[in-house]
Amino acid sequence: MTKPKLRFSRKAFAYPYMIFLLLFVVVPLVIVLINAFLGDEGKLTFDNFIEFFSDKGGGMTVLGNSLIIGLVTTLICLVIGYPVAYFLAKYHASNKVFVLLFILPMWVNFLIRTLSTKAIFIALDVKLGMGTVMFGMVYNYLPYMILPLHTTLVSIDHSYIEAAEDLGADRFTVFWKTIVPLSVSGIVSGITMTFIPAISTFAISEILSSSKIFLFGDAINMHFSKTTNSFGVGSVMSLVMLVLVIIANVLVSLTEKKEEVKSAL
């Protein structure tokens, strides 16, 4: 008699958060969905979608720019972050201070970091624009790339590498044929953790280009906070963003499945 009761009460601990999720995640999403289909007079319409996809307000252009900037940011982060994560992992046991040094910037509020970056650029007389925005993006999102990579690289069993070396592989081959394939899950999660926030950011571009570079996040922000009567288009843009995030996550789970198969083999 007592056992089922206990189980019930344990489950009950999850209810507050479930209710929270329902109220602050599901309900707002439903509102966004409804708004996307609402016209000026509260009628059901596809006008908002037409307005966005026809690029009348420059929505598609902004999306394109954001995707490119996100892509390039991710690529640069990967190129810089992988070696860093690799060496951090290699010398991990001997020096944890290095890891700390790379995580340290994440403890400073990112707005403060970005504002100080701007101040530095202005002091150095660097023209604010695409270059400075890219710098700010890479600077801010690099830790999100390094951390998952570092975790995966640290957990690689060293005997695989030794085995490869024993079988006559040179250092490059060991790296390319053993370490990289074993760290794919880290690369994938690093890419998602960088790419998704990078395409939706608006503060970095606003601060580091004096609002000259206009990204998807800026556009959504504009529709919701600086104008009336354009919640519809803003909602459509938010939905597009959501779809992009879902696609990214599906891709991640696909690669993860492949990983499972590989490791099972």
Binding site: G57, N65, I68, V72, S210, K226
Partner: protein, 572 residues
């Protein structure tokens, strides 16, 4: 479960006791309530205590004020229109008020009809003073001229805006600029500036040429749709880009007075605006989100589209003891004086060229003469206000039109109060407040510093000197009064600051969406990320090439080196 129920009951019981106790506190004085919905930082600090005193003196009751703020008219409109906010008194801008009246959301105040306003007012009538005569007539005329009669949606009768609002603050849209940078660019003279007009924001000298090469990349535009739109339309008109173009109603844009032009929001004009805004991007430092004062003072930018109040604040902040204006003007460079000390060990600066004492404002504010925009904010009462608060609402509005309160507000906010300058000037309380804030030496009052000693060092030696600065300051490039734009120097050749040149922007109505779309489109065009993609692709290809090449060379070296290895081995 059995144990939980009593526990919950206990808690509920306890809460009820606490709340009823709170509700039953012995209460001899009635506490009235008021909910104010205003812009952030848009009223002086001690307003709550001052109003409490005022309220108590007139009604004998205490008042409990809830002060809520908004940051754009749009957020306020959304909340009020959807009925999300239940407030008693709001302070929106003119076009938002128009929209609210049209949507039948407001109650007529009739502030300027004393008998009507005082009806049902529960106050000690001996002490009550109706302040409507303090409000500047120029403003009321302007509002009447600009909005005329407004038709409430779904009703036939027309409404006067002045029946609904009590103007609070007003100002102009203009150009905040760094005077000394202009001197260095050699464009700081009356003729050049007035020929360039709104073109300053587009780096256009008025004839289609660059105003100055150095201005490129140091212009700030406001990240505000309506203001940027107005400035752009004026620029189009001034630079002749509207010549020969016809509006939807068949009239030529160039023939329209400023007041009509900014309200003629049709497709042709919007399209022209978009072009100009995209073109302007090459000249910009950026769009300012808060306000470009810091960027201007630090020298990051030279020009900014600004509202008069922000501009006045920035200009006052920009005072620099070391700048010598006449010599700077002559030499087209910043001339700083040498630091000296007087007998009281106070710092001052002497110019090394003219040997005069230095000191000047680094920034200036200019409102073009031929076209401009004036805006105002006013207090209104929404229909869904709490009826029992009406007494407090009316007293609050009347309180704000007291000259002393107006002076405090002007000091705090920087914008010009709708209370007329004469009323402020002639009121003792207002004079004391101003004299204190600006440290004016005046016989009529004495001020003590923190230690209780009389103040000996003053910023202004007499009230007259201060009055000339505060009520009569004129920018050299502009010649109109920066605080009271209707007052113009007679020596300037007399230009008109009537409604024809200083337009009021109405609500864009059905065209609102088109303007928003235009602005978004203009903002997204220009700085394209495609080159970035190209460069990245190139970098990837080059890196891949280098890696492939190095691998290839490695492979070749290995195969070459193999031979002697084999030879060695065979020898062994």
């Amino acid at each position: 479960m059995k144990k939980i129920i009593p526990a919950v009951l206990c808690v509920i019981l306890l809460l009820t006791v606490v709340f009823s106790a709170a509700a039953c506190t012995p209460n001899e004085i009635q506490v009235d309530k008021l909910v104010v919905y205003n812009w952030a930082d848009y009223i002086y600090d001690s307003k709550l205590t001052d109003f409490k005193e005022y309220y108590k003196s007139l009604t004998g009751n205490d008042i409990d004020i809830t002060y809520v703020t908004f940051d754009t008219n749009e957020t306020m409109l959304t909340k009020i229109m959807q009925g999300d906010a239940r407030v008693d008194v709001i302070c929106p801008s003119e076009y938002a008020i128009q929209k609210l009246i049209e949507s039948d959301m407001l109650v007529a105040l009739n502030y300027f009809d004393e008998n009507e306003y005082a009806k049902g007012l529960n106050v000690n009538s001996d002490l009550y003073e109706h302040n409507s005569s303090n409000v500047d007539n120029d403003i009321i005329n302007k509002i009447n001229e600009a909005f005329g009669e407004i038709r409430v949606e779904g009703k036939d009768d027309l409404q006067n805006m002045t029946d609904y609002i009590v103007p609070y603050m007003y100002g102009t849209l203009g150009i905040l600029y760094n005077k000394y940078s202009f001197m260095e660019m050699n464009i700081y003279d009356y003729e050049t500036i007035n020929k360039a007009n709104w073109g300053i924001l587009f780096n256009d000298d008025g004839e289609g040429n660059l105003l100055s090469d150095e201005l490129t990349g140091s212009i700030l535009m406001k990240d505000s749709i309506r203001d940027s739109y107005a400035a752009t339309v004026f620029y189009l008109l001034e630079s002749g880009k509207l010549d020969g173009k016809l509006a939807d109603d068949g009239r030529a844009y160039a023939d329209m007075p400023a007041g009509e032009l900014i309200n003629a929001v049709d497709d042709t004009l919007i399209e022209l605006c978009k072009k100009a805004l995209i073109e302007q991007k090459k000249q910009l430092f950026g769009y300012e989100v808060d306000f470009g004062k810091d960027d201007l003072l630090k020298g990051n930018a030279t020009v900014d589209l600004a509202w008069s109040g922000d501009a006045m604040y920035a200009v006052e902040e920009s005072w620099d003891d070391a700048l010598c204006k006449p010599c700077s003007e002559e030499r087209h460079t910043r001339v700083y004086g040498e630091e000296k000390r007087d007998e009281n060990d106070e710092k001052y600066y002497l110019c090394k060229y003219c040997k005069e004492k230095c000191g000047d404002y680094e920034l200036g504010y200019y409102v073009p003469h031929t076209t401009g925009n004036i805006w105002f904010d006013g207090w209104v009462i929404p229909k869904n206000h709490e009826p029992s608060h009406l007494n407090a609402i009316k007293l609050f509005i009347n309180f704000l039109n007291n000259p002393e309160v107006a002076a405090q507000n002007m000091l705090e906010i920087g914008y010009s109060s709708a209370v007329s300058p004469d009323a402020v000037r002639s009121n003792d309380g207002a004079r004391t407040a101003l004299a204190e804030a600006y440290v004016v030496n005046d016989d009529s009052w004495e001020r003590l510093d923190e230690d209780g000693n009389p103040i000996t060092k003053f910023d202004y030696d007499s009230w007259e000197e201060f009055e000339e600065y505060f009520f009569d300051y004129r920018d050299e490039m502009d010649n109109s009064n920066w605080r009271y734009p209707f007052v113009i120097a007679e020596t300037s050749g007399g230009y008109d600051r009537g409604l024809n040149t200083l337009g009021v922007m109405r609500d864009y109505g059905v065209n609102n969406k088109a303007v928003v779309t235009m602005w978004n489109s203009a903002r997204s065009t220009g700085d394209n990320a495609l080159p970035l993609l190209g460069w990245t692709a190139l970098a990837v290809v080059v890196t891949a090439g280098i890696v492939a090449l190095s691998q290839f060379i490695k492979f070749r070296i290995k195969s070459v080196v193999k031979l002697p290895d084999d030879a060695n081995q065979s020898r062994i």
